[in-house]
């Protein structure tokens, strides 16, 4: 894609009409790939129109990379059709699983980061990248409960995946913030260990406190504006790493399109700051 991506927003059906007529250099739109896995219809036609004007990012939520089974071949074929149709600027998936024994759980589920799991996920990811002929960005998950049995910290596990498959990474700063709070580690220390050179996209989103456990359990709810503490983390990250395409993610409690676009402007301004500022942060 010739155009340089700066900041983008989630594209929801409710935003299609306004999105089509907006003008903003560097703007891109991200959709959940699975929502467009259809034979035809108005939803695909609307995305065709958007893709004619803006770069598109296809974000997968259902490949189940971290499941103990190869990716579903029908799902890979559906992915191939989407990539062929929309020629996305970015393609991403999650370090998580959702399929088990032919049934699908609509969530992004955790797993013990073992050597065996690394081999399996590396293989799954290689199959995915081969099937669509693209480098895939793998996203760090939002975690809610500590698990026993990890053999790698998450940052090392992601670095190993990059080494094994030449994939890229999608660094979700909100997921990082939520996981650090929920599991009791330092977000800054996590970022210090993160393989930043592989980051091809950043996600920013809002979160919510659990209705029962309160602030000790944050939910990656995507139903609110990006939190101030997440903005601060993002600002320091960009100052250190330099600019990367950044998405304002929103899936629930959708605000007016203009509100989402104003969050995007805030990200764009931070991205435009000279990277040299990093020296003084």
């Amino acid at each position: 894609m010739a155009q340089q991506l700066t900041a983008g927003v989630s594209l929801k059906p409710a935003y299609m009409a306004e999105a089509l007529h907006v003008t903003a250099p560097g703007l891109f739109f991200e959709v959940h790939a699975e929502n467009y896995m259809a034979d035809g219809g108005p939803r695909l036609a609307a995305l065709d129109a958007i893709a004619g004007r803006f770069p598109i990012s296809l974000h997968g939520v259902g490949l189940s990379l971290a499941g103990d089974a190869p990716p579903d071949t029908a799902h890979l074929a559906a992915w191939r059709r989407l990539v062929g149709r929309f020629n996305p600027a970015l393609v991403s998936e999650h370090l998580a699983w959702s399929a088990w024994n032919g049934a699908y759980v609509p969530d992004l589920l955790p797993f013990p980061r073992t050597r065996a799991a690394l081999a399996r996920i590396g293989d799954n990811l290689a199959r995915f990248q081969d099937a669509i002929g693209r480098r895939v960005l793998v996203e760090n998950p939002a975690l809610y409960m500590p698990l026993a049995g990890h053999e790698f910290p998450e940052t090392d596990f992601l670095a190993e995946l990059v080494r094994l498959t030449d994939c890229g990474l999608l660094l979700d700063v909100n997921n990082l913030f939520v996981s650090a709070r929920n599991l009791g580690y330092s977000a800054e220390a996590y970022l210090a260990d993160f393989p930043l050179e592989a980051v091809g996209e950043i996600h920013l989103a809002g979160h919510a406190a659990d209705s029962r456990l309160g602030e000790s359990l944050l939910i990656d709810s995507h139903d609110a504006p990006v939190a101030e503490l997440v903005w601060r983390l993002y600002e320091r990250l960009v100052a250190r790493m330099g600019a990367r395409p950044t998405l304002i993610e929103r899936d629930e409690n959708l605000p007016p399109f203009a509100e989402l676009m104003s969050e995007r402007v805030r990200a764009e301004r931070l991205l435009a700051k000279p990277a040299a500022a990093a020296l003084h942060v």
Binding site: A103, F111, P112, Y144, M145, R212
Partner: protein, 258 residues
């Protein structure tokens, strides 16, 4: 079984309510309380998907009832693919046997129509047959010409007034008089271009389209329509269907397999 597979198995059992198999991997005392985030997210995802697929059912019964029914359905029917807009094809039949819906025998029918709309929405795109293709036909051709319905089309029949009730419930806000009229009737759901259309069908129109769908010739379809409804204005009806884009193609071979 690999450790990852054992973990996934335990996790799914915990999602279904039994946390014990997952306990060996849970490294903190409040693990199960935290685990409920996953239960809630999965349940919400399934309930949201079904509410999106069956908006008229949700409108008829209200959000709370719909959610409870969706979760009861989801316990027995897990999605088989990650594209959740394809989840819920068994919901209409399941609703027919769902005891709390016993007072609403039309509810399953509303769900069938909602599902037909979903099918039409996501069907492969295909321009309907141009009216000119029919203009070239003379009545002599009807005996050996078949007309195939548009690929997005579903035809439904209800012996009660479910079709009319579904149409009443589309009004926004729903018309206060939405109620089950005792008249039998059918419904055609199809998407000739980008928008889904619905058309009420009487006895004759339903018989006509049903015969077309079964691969009968236009002549036989017309006979079926007139025997179901002797005073049907058949030529007008056929013309209306053509103009609305109900047909995808015609073929002059009675033996054709459609």
């Amino acid at each position: 079984m690999s450790e990852l597979a054992r973990f996934q198995q335990a996790f799914v059992e915990a999602l279904c309510g039994d946390f014990a198999p997952l306990a060996p991997w849970s490294s903190r005392s409040d693990g199960e309380a935290r685990f409920s985030v996953y239960r809630n997210t999965a349940a919400k995802g399934l309930a949201d998907a079904l509410s999106a697929q069956f908006p008229t059912v949700a409108r008829a019964v209200g959000e709370g009832w719909m959610r409870a029914a969706a979760l009861a359905f989801a316990r027995e029917h897990r999605p088989e693919a990650p594209a959740l807009h394809a989840y819920g094809g068994d919901f209409p039949d399941w609703l027919a046997g769902f005891a709390p819906a016993g007072e609403m025998p039309w509810l399953s029918g509303l769900a069938r129509i909602d599902w037909a709309v979903r099918d039409a929405l996501f069907a492969a795109d295909c321009a309907p047959l141009d009216t000119a293709a029919f203009a070239a036909l003379s009545p002599d051709d009807f005996g050996d010409t078949c007309a195939a319905l548009h690929r997005s089309a579903t035809i439904l029949w209800f012996d009660d007034g479910t079709a009319g009730l579904w149409r009443d419930l589309q009004a926004d806000p729903p018309s206060a008089e939405a109620e089950l009229a005792p008249e039998p009737g059918g419904l055609l759901v199809f998407r000739p271009r980008l928008e889904v259309s619905t058309r009420p069908l009487g006895y004759g129109a339903y018989a006509f389209l049903r015969a077309c769908r079964a691969g009968e010739s236009l002549g036989l379809a017309g006979q079926a329509a007139l025997s179901a409804e002797p005073d049907l204005p058949l030529a007008n009806l056929f013309g209306d269907f053509i103009a609305a884009g109900v047909f995808e193609r015609i073929r002059r071979s009675p033996d054709a397999v459609w």
